[in-house]
């Protein structure tokens, strides 16, 4: 059976830049969709050379605002994926959409193109807060977009951002309770994060914006976990909630550290080649990316094999975000040795402290552990020495070549 592969396609344009957002998203007066589509298609061709003969389990149009793409472009890209690879029968094809009316009208076109799941950036169900978040839509439009999504797509999800300035537990609880009936089987609920370089970060540094402190943020997080758990949409990842079986297949690929290719400006990929993970990264600036693809067929500017240590770190920090944790055999394939042998006493301390749980099958971060995952990871890794002998086979220790040419 062919190895599974997920495909991420990045559309780097937005109508306006939200003050909290550090995604690779840009506002441009005009965008030539035909030219961009050609470039993305060409980059897909190149990705197929990097990771041939796979079975596609997911395609994800992310952004930026992919709902600004003409449906024909989306259709062309999906067609090209189908032409380059075998497609799993259960393939999930998601598109991120902003809840503005113009975009809502394209929903049917996306379905026709092959999109079978919509992810809506609602962010808030409160007009005041939507304004403060710099969004172009209001609550009414958000509700209309959710209605449309429900009508058009079998699967949809929407995003909310919480722990906003001045948001009380009561207010967030009420907003969540209002959101639950609107959801079908999936919700992404993010704590507002101050990303370096954003306008919000600058405001906060200047004292003009103050977000909830650790205790308050923890209370909001715990409230979210409880409310969603009780509603039958438990967290399967730190910020993602679904009815069992309705998880986002695409994002699961990231967290399970499965292979994916990244198409479009700034996109990253992880591809297993001869037993080692190869990382790929695209040129970030849209214009540079475009000219790179038009000149060389790809916008990739970095392709390198990860060391065993790097890959292990990535698998841990991604995998422990999931409620299901990390399967031990998968971990051993990447790390080249057994979890217990590798981590020793910090692992035991963290298990004794109730932050991690280890059984014969899996390593899992407990609820408490996931709430403090960054600290757990740091504590787990303190003493890890990847070069230590007796950990992994000699073959596993052989380090892969560091730099591969961008074109394989």
């Amino acid at each position: 059976m062919a190895e599974p592969l997920a495909v991420y396609i990045h559309w780097p344009f937005c109508v306006s830049k939200c003050p909290y957002c550090d995604f690779n998203s840009h506002v441009r007066e005009t965008v030539d969709p035909a030219r961009w589509t050609r470039a993305l298609l060409s980059d897909l061709d190149h990705a197929a050379e990097l990771a041939p003969e796979r079975e596609i389990v997911s395609i994800f149009f992310g952004g930026g605002t992919p709902s600004l793409m003409p449906p024909e472009s989306v259709a062309a890209l999906i067609r090209r994926v189908r032409a380059l690879w075998r497609i799993a029968p259960s393939v999930e094809i998601t598109l991120e959409a902003n809840p503005n009316s113009a975009e809502r009208e394209r929903f049917r076109g996306y379905r026709e193109a092959g999109v079978n799941r919509l992810s809506l950036g609602v962010q808030a169900l409160d007009d005041e807060d939507l304004k403060r978040l710099g969004r172009r839509h209001d609550k009414r439009e958000a509700l209309a977009a959710i209605d449309a999504a429900r009508e058009v797509f079998a699967r949809y999800s929407f995003d909310l951002i919480y722990a906003r300035a001045g948001q009380s537990e009561g207010a967030w609880r009420r907003e969540l309770e209002g959101a639950l009936p609107l959801a079908r089987d999936h919700l992404s609920l993010y704590q507002l994060t101050l990303e370096p370089g954003t306008r919000f970060a600058a405001l906060a540094a200047a004292g003009a914006l103050s977000l909830p402190d650790e205790e308050h943020a923890a209370a909001l997080y715990e409230l979210t976990q409880e409310t969603l758990g009780a509603a039958g949409l438990p967290a399967y990842e730190i910020s993602n909630h679904a009815r069992p079986g309705a998880e986002c297949r695409h994002n699961l690929a990231y967290w399970r550290y499965e292979d994916y290719v990244g198409i479009g400006p700034g996109a990253e990929g992880r591809i297993t080649r001869s037993g080692a993970k190869v990382a790929t990264r695209q040129t970030r600036s849209p214009e540079h990316w475009l000219s790179a693809v038009e000149a060389a067929g790809t916008g990739l500017n970095e392709t390198f094999a990860l060391s065993r240590e790097e890959a292990t770190l990535e698998m841990l920090m991604m995998g422990l975000r999931l409620a299901e944790g990390i399967a031990r055999p998968a971990f051993e394939r990447v790390a080249g040795c057994d979890i217990e042998a590798l981590f020793g006493s910090p692992l035991r301390t963290l298990c004794d402290g109730g932050f991690l749980a280890l059984d014969n099958e899996r390593l899992v971060a407990t609820d408490a552990g996931r709430e403090r995952l960054d600290a757990v990871l740091a504590a787990l890794l303190v003493k890890t020495r990847f070069s230590s002998r007796g950990c992994g086979s000699s073959e596993a220790r052989r380090s892969p070549p560091r730099l591969l040419p961008a074109r394989l």
Binding site: Y190, E215, Y254, R281, L313, F355, A375, V376, A379
Partner: protein, 600 residues
């Protein structure tokens, strides 16, 4: 060589800021020692730090040529002295090279603590003292009152005190004339075997080790083989000269003269201050009375905040010691702070100056542990050990008792602030010896444990007196004290760099302050962190850093992986600078910050 009757050797002594350096400038100018374009303020303060802080650290000398009213030409050798008590040793040896002193008193301030201390030293050195009231140009000058004060408090005859403004130059000529008329000429025998006092020595990048000498008998010439009597080492004199204040060669130095020699000596440490220099071929029968070697009285650990700077710190300390043999250091290892040095100083100012020079001239970022004095620990078995590092404290059950050094402090303070100063001295376990008044200023004599003075006493004194108190002290023996070792425990383990020897009654307050400070500095951890202050097994203060409640990235998708991994790698790297206490890891920076914050 100058005939003895035409030589006057003198020092200028003064409380800090009373105008010693400015007066020296005027005297040099008046005698044409430097051309106008070479003149700058306080020419004798050569170190950047000296100029900036307005203090003299190293003694300097200058030879002046003066034609007196009697028409004769005189050589006046001015020996500048440091004004601060920490360097009283240097004052001492400067005074030993002279027959008299000019006592400078600020006519608007009056007598201060160091005025007194310096005068006593000058009297002990057998000096003739010429009182000079300076800053007479100031409207606030009260020459009559200050004259009275000099007579009452200092006990000198001030009838003939000179009224001078070093700033405007007013009456500076009268100072020169008084030197000639009132100070005795030196005595000595040019034909006797060579006997010269080694006053000071320092390392000069161009000349090598330079020795400052005062010749008593005989003659010092270049090419001559000299012997340092204390060590027996023999060297050949390369260069003989005087400071004008620029070094300039002279054919020879005869009796009564002050000047310098170089003799191919490698290290300052080989030249003992106070030693007698004699001729190898015709040595003197007995050395001049020397000084007792100085002992550091204050110690602290100095650690580089960046471990990579350790070697540079070692080199820098070695360089500083080239010119300052009174300061000591030896390697020290701390579990909390890593590798560093235990250093000994003559006093707190000395410590501050060395620390500041390391930071400034050598660009080192340092952390200093709390200063400690030298304790005498009497053990049950009769043995006595000296201790200046709390971590060396022996097991309490083996200790019979501990003695600590005391000082006799002289404090001058305006009436209005006397109450605050008295309270401070009492709080610091002081015992009043004397309290007298001179006008509206009180002179307070207190005995205090040095331990209480090295710990922020100066700052407190400054704040309770708004800066108007002056302070001076001398060591005054050892006394038994109820001293205990206080440890700071983090999750039950002692943090060596924060251990302190304190009086039992002070322990709780200090312990609580340290615990509170650490509580704010230690970041939250997965597990709660207990911070305790303990004396032996008894906990006297406790704080808790609550466990971390939430610490996780909200979003982490395929495009975030590289960036987030790098963050994690950096965090893992940072953990190398952490110190494990049971289940938690405390960044070294927390301890550094705790020490850097100073008290309160």
């Amino acid at each position: 060589m100058t005939p003895l009757s035409r030589i006057r050797n003198f020092a200028i002594i003064a409380h800090i800021d009373h105008g010693k350096s400015t007066l020296a400038d005027r005297l040099i100018e008046a005698c044409g020692g430097l051309e106008a374009r070479e003149m700058r303020e306080q020419v004798l303060d050569s170190m950047e730090l000296e100029r900036e802080r307005g203090i003299t650290i190293k003694a300097q000398t200058v030879r002046l040529h003066y034609r007196a009213k009697d028409g004769e030409d005189y050589v006046l050798n001015l020996v500048d002295t440091p004004g601060h008590v920490d360097f009283s040793y240097e004052v001492n040896r400067s005074l030993a090279a002279c027959e008299g002193s000019i006592l400078v008193v600020d006519a608007s301030q009056g007598v201060e603590a160091q005025t007194l201390a310096n005068v006593y030293q000058a009297i002990e050195a057998g000096h003739e003292i010429v009182p000079v009231l300076n800053k007479i140009d100031l409207p606030a000058a009260e020459p009559l009152r200050v004259k009275e004060q000099i007579e009452e408090v200092v006990g000198l005859d001030a009838k003939d005190a000179l009224l001078v403004s070093a700033k405007t130059g007013l009456n500076v000529g009268s100072v020169l004339e008084a030197l000639v008329q009132r100070l005795p000429a030196p005595v000595g025998d040019g034909n006797a075997p060579l006997k010269a006092l080694l006053v000071d020595s320092w390392y000069d990048p161009y000349l090598g080790v330079v020795i400052l000498v005062r010749v008593r008998d005989g003659v010092l010439k270049s090419g001559e083989k000299i012997r340092l009597m204390a060590t027996g080492a023999v060297h050949t004199v390369e260069r003989v000269g005087v400071f004008t204040p620029k070094p300039s060669s002279a054919p020879a130095l005869g009796p009564g003269e002050i000047g310098f020699i170089t003799a191919g000596i490698k290290a300052v440490a080989d030249c003992r201050v106070g030693d007698t220099i004699t001729a190898d071929r015709r040595p003197a029968s007995a050395p001049l009375p020397g000084f007792k070697p100085v002992q550091p009285v204050v110690f602290c650990g100095l650690f580089p905040t960046d471990a990579a700077d350790y070697e540079r710190l070692r080199e820098s300390l070695a360089k500083l010691r080239l010119n300052d043999a009174s300061f000591r250091y030896e390697p020290e290892t701390s579990a909390a702070l890593g590798f560093g040095f235990r250093c000994g100083f003559l006093g707190l100012l000395h410590l501050e100056i060395i620390e500041e020079r390391l930071r400034r001239e050598f660009d080192l970022d340092l952390v200093a542990t709390a200063p400690s004095v030298v304790y005498r620990v009497h053990l049950r078995d009769g043995e006595v050990m000296t201790l200046h590092n709390p971590v060396d404290m022996p097991d309490p059950v083996t200790i019979d008792h501990i003695e600590e050094p005391w000082i006799r402090a002289t404090i001058f303070v305006p009436d209005a602030y006397l109450g605050g100063v008295l309270a401070l001295c009492e709080e610091r376990r002081g015992r009043q010896v004397d309290l007298t008044y001179a006008g509206n200023r009180a002179m307070l004599i207190y005995r205090l444990p040095l331990n209480e003075v090295v710990f922020d006493f100066h700052d407190r004194l400054k704040s309770v007196s708004r800066g108007y108190a002056s302070f001076d002290y001398q060591l005054d023996g050892y006394e038994e004290g109820a001293l205990v070792l206080m440890n700071i425990l983090v999750n039950g383990e002692s943090v060596d760099a924060l251990s302190l020897i304190v009086h039992r009654d002070e322990a709780e307050r200090r312990g609580r302050a340290l615990c509170e400070r650490l509580k704010d500095l230690i970041p939250r951890q997965l597990f709660q962190v207990a911070i305790q202050a303990a004396i032996g097994g008894r906990i006297i203060a406790r704080e808790t850093v609550k466990a971390l409640r939430k610490d996780v990235l909200a979003k982490c998708y395929g495009g975030d992986v590289t960036r987030k991994r790098k963050l994690l790698e950096k965090q893992k790297e940072g953990k190398k600078r952490m110190r494990q206490f049971g289940k938690v890891e405390i960044p070294q920076s927390a301890f550094i910050a705790a020490l850097k914050m100073g008290e309160e």
